[in-house]
């Protein structure tokens, strides 16, 4: 028991060391500063994917995370541009806005199961895009551009985070921000899944009728999980808008929603850290295949199909298999 625990703590510390020390050191040594942008994207996408994973965990196929990422991006951009809010304040607000919206949307649609829920969420992404095109506040197809970089964050006169515009290396700053949020997000997820709440979510996933008959308030739990999921989507969308300093209706599309889902599949639906690994592999895999030119999509899709056939429980199930052999 304690042995196991020590291993987990060691793994956690090693992970933090890699993310916050080894990666920046390796990048500055190699001079490949563009990797910061790539890894920042991976961190943010894995936060959104973690949300999708949580809805999988209660037995719902969610292809609508793009809608919340887009909404989060717009909420943050509009508050910064039109109302002069600090980016740091818009970050939680964007998440909470998405969570609130998801409660309203989730109450009716979470009653659906399987492919029906999946279809509705797929449509949701498209609805969000069309809304962004049509609403006056979102500035239509032109989107919102020239969003200033995040300013300084001070509490009681102490500057916790410096103004990103004054930094020489804002890429590193964004990387550290995204990585920190990713770590927090997955720490929360890990705790959720390994507490009783995780077991309750599993009970929903495996049999809602039985869960309800042992007194689980399934409607409530479903909405809570969906709201947490959407919160993650909104936060990651808000940071994306800040990094690219712009947001358009096409910033997050159905393809993104599908990718969030694929990240979860690839990493493994049974493992909390599945979406993180899935995002990393998928993002770099796609980039690596860039050299194959017009065959990129063909090879990529083929590989995905093969992987799902060979490893239906995701990449992390490989670790479990080797452990069982020992």
């Amino acid at each position: 028991m304690t042995f196991n625990r020590n291993i987990k703590i060691a793994a956690g510390v090693a992970f933090l060391a890699i993310v916050f020390i080894a990666v920046p050191a390796a990048i500055s040594a190699s001079g490949r500063f563009d990797l910061y942008y790539t890894l920042t994207s991976v961190a943010l996408l894995s936060i959104a994917s973690a949300g999708v994973w949580l809805t999988f965990y209660i037995g719902r196929i969610n292809i609508g995370q793009g809608a919340y990422a887009l909404t989060g991006g717009y909420v943050s951009a509009i508050l910064v541009m039109n109302h002069g809010w600090s980016f740091w304040l818009t970050l939680p607000v964007a998440g909470l806005f998405c969570a609130a919206a998801s409660v309203l949307i989730g109450l009716p649609i979470l009653r659906l199961r399987g492919v029906y829920f999946a279809m509705v969420t797929l449509v949701l992404t498209e609805v969000a895009r069309l809304l962004a095109l049509a609403l006056p506040i979102t500035n239509g197809a032109k989107g919102i551009v020239s969003i200033p970089l995040p300013g300084a964050l001070s509490v009681f006169g102490v500057t916790l985070i410096p103004d990103f515009a004054t930094l020489q290396n804002s890429r590193l700053a964004f990387y550290l921000l995204a990585a920190t949020l990713m770590v927090v997000c997955f720490a929360v997820m890990y705790r959720l899944v390994n507490s009783r709440i995780g077991k309750l979510c599993q009970s929903l996933q495996q049999n809602e009728e039985l869960a309800s008959s042992i007194g689980v308030n399934i409607a409530y739990l479903r909405v809570i999980a969906y709201a947490v999921s959407s919160f993650f989507g909104g936060v990651s969308g808000a940071i994306f808008a800040a990094i690219s300093q712009s947001i358009y209706p096409s910033s997050f599309t159905v393809t993104d929603s599908v990718n969030f889902m694929l990240n979860c599949f690839l990493g493994g639906l049974g493992y909390v850290f599945g979406p993180m690994l899935g995002t990393l592999v998928l993002y770099f895999g796609w980039d690596l295949l860039f050299q194959t030119g017009q065959f990129q999509l063909l090879i990529y899709s083929g590989l995905m199909i093969v992987l799902m056939l060979v490893l239906p429980n995701g990449l992390l199930s490989l670790a479990e298999m080797t452990r069982k052999k020992d």
Binding site: S195, R196, Q202, L210, S212, I214, G215, I218
Partner: protein
Amino acid sequence: MAEMLEVSGLTKRFGGLVAVNNVSFSVREKEILSVIGPNGAGKSTLFKLIASFLRPTTGEVRLKGERISGLAPHIAARKGVVRTFQETTIFKNMSVRDNVVIAHHLRSKASLFGFFLGTGAAKADEAAFGASADEILALLGLASLAGETARNLPHGHLRALGIAIGLATDPSILLLDEPFAGMNHDETMRMVEMVRRLRERGLTILLVEHDMPAVMKISDRLVVLNFGQKIAEGTPSEIQANEKVIEAYLGSEDEAIGL
């Protein structure tokens, strides 16, 4: 003996079909009462009405005098009416022990957020649930299978696990949906013993069942349904002698009602 559950004038219509028609009866405390009837008699509908999985068209169900019909199933479960399922409904990808531990959910004192933070109340809950789950598993002869993934259990044990889950919620009345279905003679006899042991623990039991010999052996009283209506109520020997019941089971009268 006091009355635990009262069913009065219960009717359920599905469009033009009257699945349950004005059925009334009551279950006494610590009684084993069985609802029997030919296929399509409305047993399952009645069962779902009592467990609040369906809302009655008219009529009501009362638990210890308090109306429970029309509540959401999880609320009815909190009040003390807990059902098991006809098919082997369990959380199939959890371990046997986890199935029973999670079923203690109703007894939690800690909130969801408390469980997230791992507060003292949450830890106390976890410990108590674990101990109680082990006791229930031992009672139902599942202790040696505690670590097994539930879907790997053989049929008879799955049914016992279903009952263990029901038991873990600490119900006032446990509704068993065809607990003997698909069992051979030995398994049935073991299950009969198990249900009797539950009653000895002070539980009131309502069961819906096809297997006549088992029902006759186990029940204090029976309610017989046919075409959605109650046609008889009484002790096993009264029911076996009842003309209407024999008529309802016409064609297979002798063996089907265990004469």
